[in-house]
Amino acid sequence: MSTISDELKQEEAEKVENIDYKMVTFSLAGKDYGIDIMKVKEISKAKRFTYVPNADPYVRGVYNLRGDIISIIDLRIMFNLPAPKREEASFEDMIILRLDDYLIGVIVDSIDKVVGINSESIQPPHPIFGDINIKFIKGVVENEGRLYLILDVEKILGDTRHDEDTSAQPQLVTQPAREPEAEQDQAEKTGETDYAFVVETLQTFRDFHVTEYNRNWVRSRFEEWRQQRTNEGAEVQLQEAEDADRFLQSFYSPYSGGFWGNDYCSSVKEILKQLQVQGNVMVWNPGCGAGYETYSLTIILKESFPNSQLKVWAHDNDLLNISTAPNLIFSSADLSEELEEYTVEGKNGLQFNKEIRDAIFFEFHNVLHSNPFPEVDLIVARDILSFQKQDEQDGLVQEFSEKLKPGGILILGRHEEILSDMFEDISNGMVHAYRKR
């Protein structure tokens, strides 16, 4: 009897002796968390942080810690946890962490105590702890009947720094990431391997990348396609480039590769009524192809803003196509009567008059490279987004937003859409348009 209790005592003692890991514990939304004490410089209470404009939402501001200016991060906002309401100017519990070469303050609900444990008793995190992204959790440990999640602060706070370093567009950091995998996940979960395959082959055959900007269309088009192919007794999957072309047939915007018809022109005019311009009207038309779209657009602009100086930058990276654009020759059968009054009879056929042609700069240019021209009032980028890679699409949307003046309008392809709150949807019938907020 005595030997057993002795053994127990010995075990107990061993455990106590083996304390080689201490952590500061605190609570967030009622759960217990710990941070390695070696990373903690001190704990303190503070209030009235100095707000930093345009920082990420979880950055509460900066704080003067006895002469050192440190950034303050709210872990509850960072982890999307509810924060208890507190009085405006009351003190909040704060842990000051020392990471590599800088200090950072972390706000928590309440700081508990310092707990010593044996590092061998730390267990790897289980995916079930859903509140916090699992990669931020170093492990789980039990102490005196309570479970503590040990946070890996290096990963949490080091990571954000890393993200900012690699991406010049901080706004985008939060949005994408999920894309390509999510696309496959979603498809597989619902057993739609066919869909995943179509997404894959569109990319291979025609460089068409399915993303948030066109997913809605691809989804509904896929259903339609499956019906049609099943009725025809053909494979749902795209076997060759021609299949991809057939699949994409209805994707392209109205009047792609030709002059715009009267119906489309009047829809665009309707949208342009919402555009406020002062003096010059600057327009960017990436992906202009052989220039049919650019000329149609320029004439509409001319009619909508008769008293303004027009400047249209038309870009394409297909040299063969765009080299014919500046001196485009066509026959009167190609275009609607409305456009006809701006044409002159040239040596080789009908051409647009000098006034129209002088308003347009056709450039052999890749829009993914830097775009060296001033801010514009209008961007017409029909069916160009979908043919860029995922990250390039995001970059391009960002570029559109940067290049547009406030209140400027972006016209996308018929089946392309932007779900970001950077833009307000002002679409009209066949024309998908957005106004920059």
């Binding site: 990276n317 500046p326 830097s370 060296p372 021209f373």
Partner: protein
């Protein structure tokens, strides 16, 4: 780069090279580049101003430069001496000059700066803010890359 500018440069390069080397010149595929790229060994830069701002860079290996200079001078040159350098600079001047003349006929006003020649190994050129049009030209002695980076004056 404006479409109208492309042809004058390509044509001028071919006319001049064909004339001074009296051989058939082949054109490679034109393409755009915005990142930095290595310089082959001998580079001549001619600046452009006027309606646009930018520069033309003629880029070739040293052996190609020597072969061209020898052919143009009618004697075998062994090293990139002053004569060889002056010859290559002059070639760049001739091509750019002819291109600018053609552009002038089309109604674009361009001025050019005297050529500068740069030689050395492991050099790189980067076009910050402007993308460059690359016109590769195949000669018997090797390849010349004509790298045109211009943008409209805002």
């Amino acid at each position: 780069m404006r479409v109208e500018y492309i042809n004058p440069f390509v044509e001028a390069a071919f006319n001049v090279l064909r004339e001074v080397l009296s051989e058939e010149v082949k054109r490679g595929e034109l393409f755009l580049k915005s990142t930095s790229q290595p310089v082959l060994g001998v580079a001549v830069i001619v600046g452009l101003t006027g309606d646009v701002e930018g520069r033309v860079l003629f880029d070739m290996k040293k052996s190609v430069a020597l072969a061209i200079a020898s052919q143009m001078n009618g004697e075998e040159l062994q090293a990139m001496d002053d004569l060889a350098k002056a010859t290559i600079s002059e070639l760049a001047n001739m091509i750019t000059g002819q291109a600018v003349t053609k552009l002038h006929e089309l109604g674009f006003k361009f001025d050019l700066t005297p050529p500068a020649i740069i030689t050395g190994d492991n050099m790189e050129v980067s076009n910050s803010g402007v993308e460059a049009l690359i016109v590769p030209v195949e000669l018997q002695a090797g390849k010349i890359e004509i790298n045109v980076a211009v943008r409209e004056r805002a």
